[in-house]
């Protein structure tokens, strides 16, 4: 196959994006149609590239001197990510066409959308660090642009996102430069399995920070919840939920599997796992106390990254495979969740939980899609999140540090609890008297198709989990020499995968080794605990909310759930604040999250102001002062150059 084909998924969307900017305004649906069509064509070519097989396609064009060349290389991992990204681009384009077409500055939105798609594809395919940086940094610009489209004050959030992402990207640039000074090459495929020690270790940490920040891990996450409120909704599904996760985890995978070798329980492994575990627990605690549909989801977008980082950081084959599988799964269900959020916002007119309720009957397809995705993210069998989370638990358990699987399980408990809360307050219970739109109806087909396709994917990947594992994940990882190197007995890795991953519908895993039972058992117990927590919280709330005593029990299957659904978010939140979580979630929210924010906003400002003040005092415009600097500087130069030289 001609390697020039690699240019199509990059150039086509970018050119189409630029074309959208200059298209005449009058033509209705043209930009939307163009976006969907271009994304579809890009998907077709991504599929072609994926199918090309073998050692992959490589496009190499000498660019400038100093080893900087235009170099694209689609082998196992990139072409898999490219296919996934292209898939999301199509569905999101379709969704955006319905959601955004009558919004403020929608032309810019579609232009940024397409350019982002092209740049992301470029970043995935890049095989030279400079090319990677070019696309990676270009994404910053469109990120900024897309956030500003939310409303007139969104630029504040956009600036925050730009600065935080820029900070992380500079860490990555430094890391790349360190790596380059160690290896002497800018070609990514020539960097292989370095030991992360010394300068290479610094390079690893810096690059990993950059990659994790892209994926939204702590402490680079604070702009995401703000963006959930300020940015247009499809943006949240598109960048923080789907593409940035894919890109960030993709790069992290390449860093820790290809460029470096991460041994189990090495310092680097512990570093990654700690970031992963901390991100899981803290972000989920914060998610729990949120009162807004989109904001709650955005904290989960952060929390779930923790699982991926934890999985990859274990250095254990099953954990790594789980981390990468979780990336794919997360992109799917989180995308669905944000899309349902968009549908709710569009139809019901708000995303505040206290103004929502009882939407299941009115928007059944959206509701079903939501619950599938919610079960997936919570790790309920047989959905896809269950599979990948179990793999991560196994991997974390195998490292022997019991604290990491415990953190992951804590995350699982609160994830489920918060989604029960979200689901109840939105889809069940009574219609809120404060609801801004009374005659809510199901949303239109262009928004339904993407969310139901992805939700279906969640089910398929969960039930037939061997398919993605065998055809998508395994070829990516098993062909990587690191993986086989890691496997003391190569068959063991495959065995572990198949042990952990029997078809969950059969519940066959109960018959396997005791360790398997034990871990899955704990996970199931977590779900039960979450359910109990939720039930208890709702009961407490019922006591307060008098009106809640008139339950709507018309849906027979979900009768029990209905009884509990009267409680509003407020009560649950109060229960947590006054009880268990008072010292936990709220403190975490206040101290850690706002603390990190304060570091960005206050400490830096303070240090800055102090040095500015001192320096400004010296620049007082007095000639004699200035002259004395010149004379003093000259004296030092003379001493250095003329006197010391002898």
């Amino acid at each position: 196959m001609n390697p020039n084909i690699l240019l199509i998924p990059i150039l086509l969307p970018v050119l189409a994006g630029l074309a959208v900017l200059i298209l005449p305004k009058g033509l209705k649906w043209l930009k939307e149609g163009l976006a969907v069509a271009v994304a579809a064509v890009a998907l077709y070519y991504a599929a072609l590239i994926f199918k090309s097989g073998g050692e992959g396609l490589r496009l190499f064009v000498p660019w400038t001197s100093f080893g900087i060349n235009f170099d694209l290389y689609a082998y196992h991992l990139p072409r898999f990510i490219l296919l996934a990204a292209a898939g999301f681009e199509v569905l999101l384009a379709l969704y955006s066409a319905a959601f955004m077409h009558d919004k403020w500055r929608s032309r810019e939105y579609f232009a940024y959308f397409l350019i982002t798609a092209g740049l992301a594809n470029g970043a995935i395919l890049a095989n030279n660090f400079m090319v990677l940086l070019f696309f990676w940094e270009g994404l910053l610009v469109t990120l900024y642009g897309m956030i500003t489209l939310g409303h007139k004050q969104s630029h504040i959030t956009a600036t925050k996102a730009l600065i935080i992402s820029g900070l992380a990207d500079f860490a990555m640039i430094l890391g790349i430069i360190f790596l380059w000074s160690v290896t002497g090459t800018m070609t990514m495929s020539e960097v292989r399995f370095l030991e992360p020690t010394g300068l290479a270790g610094a390079a690893f940490i810096l690059m990993a920070l950059g990659a994790m920040a892209k994926a939204g891990a702590m402490p680079f996450h604070t702009w995401i919840p703000d963006a959930a409120i300020d940015a247009p909704l499809p943006f949240m599904a598109y960048l923080p939920a789907a593409l940035e996760k894919l890109l960030g985890i993709y790069l992290l995978a390449r860093i820790s599997l290809e460029f470096f070798t991460i041994h189990m329980n090495s310092a680097m492994s512990i570093f990654l796992m700690t970031i992963g575990a901390v991100t899981i627990v803290l972000a989920v605690m914060m998610a729990l106390v949120q009162k807004d549909y989109k904001k709650l989801l955005s904290f989960h977008a952060i929390s779930q990254v923790g699982y991926m980082i934890l999985g990859i950081g274990t250095g254990v084959p099953i954990g790594i495979a789980g981390g990468i599988f979780h990336m794919l799964n997360h992109a799917m269900y989180k995308c669905t969740l944000f899309l349902t959020g968009g549908a709710v916002e569009k139809e019901a007119g708000t995303t505040e939980l206290k103004k929502l309720g009882g939407l299941f009957k009115l928007m059944p397809i959206t509701g079903v899609a939501f619950w599938i995705a919610a079960f997936s993210i919570s790790g309920v069998p047989p959905f896809n999140g269950f599979v990948s989370k179990e793999m991560v638990f196994h991997g974390a358990f195998e490292t022997g540090h019991i604290i990491f699987p415990i953190a992951a399980w804590i995350g699982a408990i609160f994830t489920f609890a918060s989604f029960l809360k979200l689901g109840h307050s939105t889809y069940f219970g009574k219609r809120s008297p404060e609801a801004p739109v009374q005659n809510v109806k199901e949303t239109n087909w262009a928004m339904i198709i993407p969310m139901s396709v992805i939700a279906l994917g969640c089910v398929v990947f969960g039930v037939f989990n061997k398919l993605p594992l065998k055809y998508l994940i395994e070829p990516v990882l098993m062909k990587s020499p690191t993986m086989t190197e890691h496997l003391t007995v190569p068959a063991h890795g495959a065995e572990a995968v198949s042990l952990a991953m029997p078809a969950p519908v059969e519940f066959g895993f109960w018959h396997h080794a005791f360790a398997m039972n034990w871990i899955v058992g704990v996970s199931m117990a977590c779900l039960v605990i979450a359910f109990l927590i939720h039930q208890y919280g709702v009961k407490k709330g019922q006591g307060k909310a008098y009106l809640a005593s008139e339950p709507i029990h018309h849906l027979p299957v979900l009768n029990t759930l209905y009884d509990l659904a009267e409680a509003r978010v407020f009560d649950l939140y109060h229960w947590f604040v006054n009880g268990l979580v008072k010292g936990g979630a709220w403190a975490v929210w206040k101290v850690i999250d706002r603390g990190i924010d304060a570091v960005y906003e206050n400490l830096l400002t303070f240090v800055g102001n102090f040095s500015i003040k001192v320096l400004k005092e010296y620049h007082n415009g007095v000639y004699a002062n200035y002259l004395s600097w010149v004379v003093g500087g000259f004296a030092l130069l003379v001493i250095y150059l003329a006197v010391l030289v002898k």
Partner: protein, 178 residues
């Protein structure tokens, strides 16, 4: 002869210091002009009559004109309070510099290579034959001075209100009465 040179040099340094330390900018500029004139005398005494003429005409003349004209434009009193310490530090620095200077110069002159250049060549030949680009540059500098003075001493363009006032003043306020 050496003694006279030394006296001239000291006077020159004195005027230079005055130029730096005098509060009144106009006096300082005039001190500078005196300094240049003394320098011109010194140059003349050191067998460089052309340099002396240039020094006198360009530095003592032209640049002083520029200075004085610029100072004439700055009418307001200097309000910024100057730090006092430079008044003590600079003389000290000057002494230290002078000492180093003497030391360096002595070793410098001891090692000066002799016999470069062409002592027989006339000033004109050197000037036109070797340094013609400098002449071009000098012409440009003189242009710069002239245009600078022209630009800075131009009449300020009147604002709309000033124009109105001028008309009123001219007509004795008749237009306004209408």
């Amino acid at each position: 002869m050496d003694l006279l040179n030394l006296i001239l040099l000291l006077m020159l340094a004195g005027f230079a210091l005055m130029a730096v330390f005098l509060k009144d900018l106009l006096k300082a500029a005039i001190s500078l002009a005196f300094m240049s004139s003394l320098l011109a005398v010194l140059l003349y005494r050191l067998d460089s009559p052309f340099a002396a003429v240039f020094e006198l005409s360009v530095v003592a003349g032209l640049i002083t004109v520029l200075f004085v004209s610029v100072i004439a434009l700055t009418k307001e009193e200097e309000t910024a309070k100057e730090a006092r310490w430079p008044a003590y530090v600079f003389p000290l620095a000057l002494v230290v510099f002078g000492l180093i200077d003497i030391k360096v110069m002595q070793s410098l002159f001891a090692t000066t290579p002799q016999g470069f250049g062409n002592p027989e060549a006339s000033f004109g030949a050197t000037l036109w034959g070797v340094r013609s680009l400098d002449i071009l540059g000098q012409i440009a500098v003189i242009f710069g001075g002239v245009f600078g003075v022209l630009a800075l001493l131009r009449e300020k363009p009147l604002t709309a209100k000033q124009k109105e006032d001028a008309i009123i003043a001219k007509d004795g306020g008749k237009e306004k009465l209408w």
